[in-house]
Amino acid sequence: MSTYGGDEVSAIVLDVGSCWTRAGYAGEDTPKAVFPTSYGYIEEEKEIPPDPDTQMEDVIPTSENKPVKSVEKRYIIGDTGVAAWRENMEIKNPLVDGLIQDWDALEKIWDYAFDKSLRIDPKEHPIFVTECAWNTRDIRERLTELAFEKYNSLAFYVAKNPVLSAFAAGRPTAVVMDCGASSTSCVPVVDGYVLKKGIYKQPIAGDFLSEQLLQLLQQKFDINVVPHYMIAKKTSVDPDQPANVEFKERPNTTGSYHKFMQMRIMQEFKESVCQVSEVTYNHSSINTRPMKYFEFPDGFNTSNGSLRFSVPEILFDPRFITQPQDGPNFDTSALLGIPQMIHQSIGVCDIDVRPNLLNNIILTGATTLLPGFADRVNHELSSMNPGPKIKLYAAGNTIERKCSSWLGGSILSSLGTFHQLWISRKEYDDYGRGIVEKKCDN
């Protein structure tokens, strides 16, 4: 190992993404644990018994001294936990636009990763955490605080996703186009530093496509997307014939859980059916492409034609967005297609680094796994920048593409030269939580 500059100190790499959380040991090529970031919770009323110390004897219980009822959340984390149907279970995501909003839930996620998935004691390991490129100072400081105050970790570091993705691809300078679940971002990285002025992001990504798909299927094609948890029994039917299905009794199912399960079907639909047009979208040529069958959980199956191209096309041309029938319309004027984002992101940078950036465009995030995605980006970019040489890098390995930032973290934190970058307990004690801005600047 040391021949490659590695000196592994058994660090734990934790990558809390908007859809999946990845956790594992540094120096390994895949995370040990991958589970959904979305968590389930059930609000339970609990009686808090009055404190015996303050209770005086022989006192007639008054309204003040009555046992207090409080609402307590029971958290359910992990793939099996979230996906299983539970009465009154709500599903929620602790991240909004890549930023941590729900700190209680984040703690639970860390707990789950350390105790249930990896079964380690965080006191014995340095902890390496990833963050989005536009993370705020407050969030970083709170993360540091959490690592040292609650988990008492040996050392701590937080690094930005695009930098780590670039490292995972073996490049210190690159433009990282990350199209994940909640947001699509394009971030230039120079010598391992994020160029903040070049960050472009928008909330049009995998989840948005799923929602559009669901909306289209339900409204335009009149298909009722029934998730697995509702189905008791089904029989196979011919294509385009109504489903023959028996439902289960599922009382008190929350809307968020139903939506969550529907989105999972849409995820499957995207993976098996959707595709990106390799060249600029042309309706007539798309109609000549072969149809693809998809069977919904209730047994209903149908072939899909232009739908499987037109929905992912939203990523390249936001005008393809179908406006919701109820609720406010999307403002598509401010949205950019992915090639435009890359182009503008590079355009903000200094002219001297532009050729280098154009030569190292990294595609990462699970949504980029749509067939034809890389071809399309390459096609559009070359017509936009006819002069300079353009080179795309998209990992062929699916896991690598899905977990590129975790992988970068794994590489970085197992390097021998990384030892000096860890924030130690002593440094945290000396400087306070502001140390993170000073030490983890990338």
Partner: protein, 476 residues
């Protein structure tokens, strides 16, 4: 079938024709074939046996033939037996302190038991770029700037220190009040401060000499305008449209073609010029001789040498430069001391006798020239080779040579003429008729006037034998 035939058949079948006895020849052939089959079967058996021994499958060996490659035969042991008695080396989790850290963070890593401490010291890769530091006093004295105050300059230098002078990153992170600085502004300020400080500071002991200081100053000079111009040009190059690039490529192609053509043209012209100058210096015999006879230099005697006006315009240049030149030069008193050695001639190193410099006439004419010189009572080399004599001798030699050349040409032409006349006569006589003969003679004479190349007349012919004497006179 004769015995010999049987032997042939045996040879073709590849069996040994052991018996030469003709009585049982048929039998012997059958036996021989059977014997051969038997032998082959045995051989096959042996082969099969050998293949079983090798780890190669029969199918493969059938493909490879009996020449099993060396690589296959080596693979005997397929799987080494695990050594169960040997214990595995232990790995121990050990705590260590990285010397690059300035705190006592103890990290632990796994180290193999009984091995020396790790070879790689990662702390040595901990390199930072040194950024100049200036004192308050220095700033007040030298570094004041209208646009920059001290705090901002400090901020800039801090950023430089933090990001190891990576200007793209510094420019990206630069946020100072409401100032909107370009990267060129930042770099200009940084380098101008550096330059100023290096200029005013005495040579520090760290720096070896004054030259180092000069170098430092030179390294830190930054031309903002030039840099801005460079970036602008790069930007223009970057933002070309597809049409522009296509046009540029097309133009480039055309320009390449033009350049290639031009080169070709120059090359051809040079070749032509070379040929031409060679002709000027030593004209082709044929050309000079053809034009020669018309010049008065030979036609007229003595006084007519420099009378170039008489030369027909068409031939003036060639005649003046070739045949006539030597004579003209020789005649004018100014050019008496013309060097014997022409520019082209190579000078041999070492001492040499002047008479050696006298050019030797052409091999073909060598004997004739010597003979002609003998006629004048001269040897192959002058007896008293003073410079004057030598030059005169060279001239004489040259002229003699020319003369001989001309004479040869004249003889040739005359001969041709004679033949032509004879054929003409024959043609005339065959057609019969005096009148035709006259017209033919007219035609011949008109020929002579129009074409300068076929001049030789009877008068020329008569005068030619006298020319050596003319030359001699000229020499006197």
């Amino acid at each position: 079938m004769s015995n010999k035939n049987i032997n042939d058949v045996c040879e073709i079948l590849g069996v040994e024709s052991g018996r030469s006895n003709s009585s049982d020849k048929k039998l012997s052939l059958v036996e021989a074939i059977n014997a051969k089959k038997e032998k082959e079967r045995k051989e096959k058996k042996v082969e099969r046996k050998t293949f079983k021994d090798t780890p190669v499958s029969r199918e493969l060996s059938a493909l490879v033939g009996h020449h099993v490659s060396v690589a296959f035969e080596r693979a005997t042991a397929l799987k080494a037996k695990p050594n169960l008695h040997k214990t595995v080396g232990k790995w121990i989790s050990t705590k260590f302190i990285n010397p690059a850290r300035n705190d006592d963070l103890m990290l632990s890593h796994w180290v193999k038991e009984n091995t020396e401490e790790e070879a790689i010291n990662f702390a040595e890769y901990n390199k930072t770029v040194e950024v100049l530091e200036y004192s308050e006093e220095e700033y007040e004295k030298y570094l004041k700037d209208r646009d920059w105050d001290k705090d901002e300059t400090d901020y800039l230098f801090d950023l430089c220190r933090k990001y190891d002078i990576r200007w793209t990153v510094i420019h990206d992170r630069y946020e100072w009040k409401d100032k909107n600085r370009t990267m060129e502004d930042l770099r200009d300020r940084y380098y101008s401060v550096n330059k100023k400080i290096y200029q005013v500071r005495p040579v520090t002991p760290g720096l070896a000499s004054q030259t180092d200081k000069g170098q430092l100053i030179a390294l830190n000079s930054y031309d903002k305008a030039k840099e801005e111009k460079r970036k602008l040009m790069l930007l223009n190059l970057y933002s070309r449209t597809k049409e522009q690039i296509e046009e540029e490529e097309a133009l480039q192609e055309i320009s390449d073609r033009i350049q290639a053509n031009e080169k070709k043209f120059i090359r051809e012209r040079e070749a032509l010029m070379k040929q031409f100058t060679v002709e000027m210096v030593q004209p082709k015999r044929k050309k000079s001789l053809l034009s020669g006879p018309t010049t008065p230099t030979i036609e007229a005697s003595g006084s007519g040498f420099h009378n170039t006006a008489d030369i027909p315009k068409k031939n003036r240049r060639t005649s003046a430069s070739s045949v006539g030149s030597a004579a003209v030069e020789a005649h004018s008193p100014k050019e008496v001391h013309t060097p014997i050695v022409s520019k082209k001639e190579k000078l041999n190193p070492g001492v040499l006798v002047r008479s050696q410099k006298i050019p030797i006439p052409k091999q073909a004419l060598l004997l004739k020239v010597h003979k002609a010189l003998q006629e004048f009572g001269l040897g192959p080399r002058p007896t008293m080779p003073t410079e004057n004599v030598c030059s005169k001798f060279t001239e004489l030699q040259k002229m003699t040579q020319n003369l001989l050349d001309l004479k040869k040409q004249v003889d040739k032409q005359e001969h041709e003429l004679k033949i032509k006349r004879a054929t003409l006569q024959r043609v005339l006589s065959s057609s019969g008729g005096e009148r035709a003969g006259v017209s033919a003679q007219d035609g011949a004479s008109t020929d002579g006037t129009t074409d300068t190349s076929t001049i030789p007349t009877k008068r020329d012919n008569r005068s030619l034998p006298n020319t050596p004497r003319d030359v001699k006179r000229a020499r006197k």
